[in-house]
């Protein structure tokens, strides 16, 4: 398929249009909320939540025998929440540090999810339900109704972020100071983490549980390179996420039987690489050139009497 045909299909082919829209939505929401997660040093939490979603998806299916994505995603939401609560409970009540607690919860939930998945795959209706697609994501399974639901939930998440912008910014920069001003930081923390869980759940069908955390971390890491303002960083991060989502969905749709998740993640990785190397102030290449020039200037100044 040539590029012109691809773009033609993007606007006029039902499947491709749906897939691209879904991928763009997931990119915007996970990019924007991922920026907060990265700034709060919660990248690992995102990884734990997304892996922990797997048992939630399988259990939701086993309980309802429904093939509706909404049911799966509700299961994922519940499991993501349970994982977050478990991590908080472990760090609060034991001497285990939070990174170990994250690792622990991630492996227990994910291992349990894989076990359940193996069991469920033996049931005939489960194979048709495509549960295994949630491992690496399959954008082609997206329906227009799924995308509408994603858009509604995503708009709610982004709207909440905008509404509490000042509070989230303060919480992220200096939580103790926020508390000293009287803001209920525990509640704000729960709210922002819930939005993160929502962002993850929105992306699961397209990107899958294994690679979803890349969609939180990578757009933010790329965006941080280009700006020193939170507003711009969050916006750019959403934009990069959408860009990677759409290009990944297009590329994987052009190739037979390619899971979407890995392709989207490759796209965002390319964006990260370019940003790390070439962003104006922070890019490695420019910094290296500046160093070189400075050293030369110092050397010539030194040689002159």
């Amino acid at each position: 398929m040539d590029i012109g045909q691809l773009f033609h299909n993007l606007f006029f082919d039902y499947t491709l249009r749906t897939v691209a829209l879904g991928a763009a939505l997931l990119g915007v929401v996970s990019g924007a909320l991922g920026a907060f997660a990265v700034l709060r040093r919660q990248s690992l939490l995102g990884d734990a939540i997304s892996h922990a979603a797997l048992p939630g998806i399988v259990i939701a299916f086993l309980l309802t025998r429904s093939r509706e994505p909404v049911v799966f995603l509700l299961g994922a939401l519940a499991a993501g929440w349970a994982a977050t609560l478990s991590i908080a409970a472990i760090t609060r009540t034991t001497r285990i540090k939070d990174d170990s607690a994250l690792g622990l919860v991630l492996s227990i939930f994910f291992g349990f999810g894989l076990m359940l998945l193996t069991f469920a795959q033996k049931l005939s209706d489960a194979r048709q339900a495509g549960l295994d697609k949630f491992l690496f994501g399959q954008a082609a399974t997206l329906l227009q109704s799924d995308v509408v639901a994603m858009a509604a939930v995503g708009a709610l998440a982004l709207g909440t972020t905008l509404l509490f912008w000042k509070e989230f910014k303060l919480l992220t920069f200096d939580a103790d100071y926020a508390a000293s001003l009287g803001y209920p930081v525990r509640t704000l923390d729960v709210l922002l983490t819930t939005l993160l869980v929502v962002a993850i759940v929105i992306g699961l069908q397209t990107v899958g549980v294994v690679l979803m955390s890349a969609m939180l971390v990578a757009p933010a890491a790329a965006a941080r390179q280009w700006t020193n303002r939170l507003e711009t960083m969050v916006g750019l991060s959403g934009l990069f996420g959408a860009l990677a989502g759409v290009s990944g969905a297009l590329i994987s749709s052009a190739m037979e039987k390619t899971p979407t998740g890995p392709v989207i993640v490759l796209c965002i990785s390319a964006l990260v690489l370019v940003s790390l190397l070439f962003a104006p102030a922070r890019g490695i290449v420019w910094r290296w050139l500046r160093n070189l020039r400075n050293r030369r200037r110092v050397r010539t100044a030194h040689l002159r009497p």
């Binding site: 700034l39 001497r95 509404l163 509490f164 912008w165 000042k166 509070e167 910014k169 303060l170 992220t172 920069f173 200096d174 103790d176 100071y177 926020a178 508390a179 000293s180 001003l181 009287g182 803001y183 941080r224 700006t227 020193n228 303002r229 939170l230 711009t232 960083m233």
Partner: protein
Amino acid sequence: MTTTAVEVRDLTVAYKDKPVLWSVDMQAPSGALMAIVGPNGAGKTTLIKAILGLVRPLAGQALIYGKPYSKQRHLVAYVPQRSSVDWDFPTSVLDVVMMGRYGALGWLKRPGSAERRAALDALDKVGMVDFAERQIGQLSGGQQQRVFLARALVQNAEVYLMDEPFQGVDATTERAIVRLLQELRSQGKTVLVVHHDLQTVPEYFDWVMMLNVRRIACGPVSEVFTEQSLRATYGGKIAFLNGDGVGEIQDGYRTALSQPVL
């Protein structure tokens, strides 16, 4: 008769099972400029956080002008330890200083031109107005400290709690900060400062609280800042060179400084 601005009664705080403050009492009269001194790990930061309600005490309470902190928030401004935040955070100096108005602004309202003006005023007072649009990561340690001070100044408070505002600042900045503290005192504000340089305590402060898990002493510098209480605070790790006279003790302070305290 002077009123008490900050009062701590029988305060006990523990992290997990390790007691960090043990039955601490403290009184800072209104208008005092008070140093809080003690070795590393003595619980100075914890004391400040307990007054602000950031850590929950096992027992005891802290009062601001006779009432709990939750009722007196608008009277108190906090300057956290500089190392407590990530200075690579994508935001400008002006933005950080405007955060000092967030408490008064309340939920959902965005900072506007009034907040901007207040922030620029405060930046002017700390000599940082030219840096308003800088990203905070591009500042020196002393400049970052002054940004934190400006953020507390825009709160327009009566009581200031500052955690190590002199840490890592150069001599010029230190003098500027001291002038600022004394100006606050002359306006009748109460200022509590966690301080490390024992040598400058008598010069900068009029009250002192000496802390090492327990309260060792608390009162006017001229009365309680003695060799005996210093020894009790810093343990046997201080070698005092000589005598009782205040002037001579100065040498003792200097020795205290040159010794590692932990």
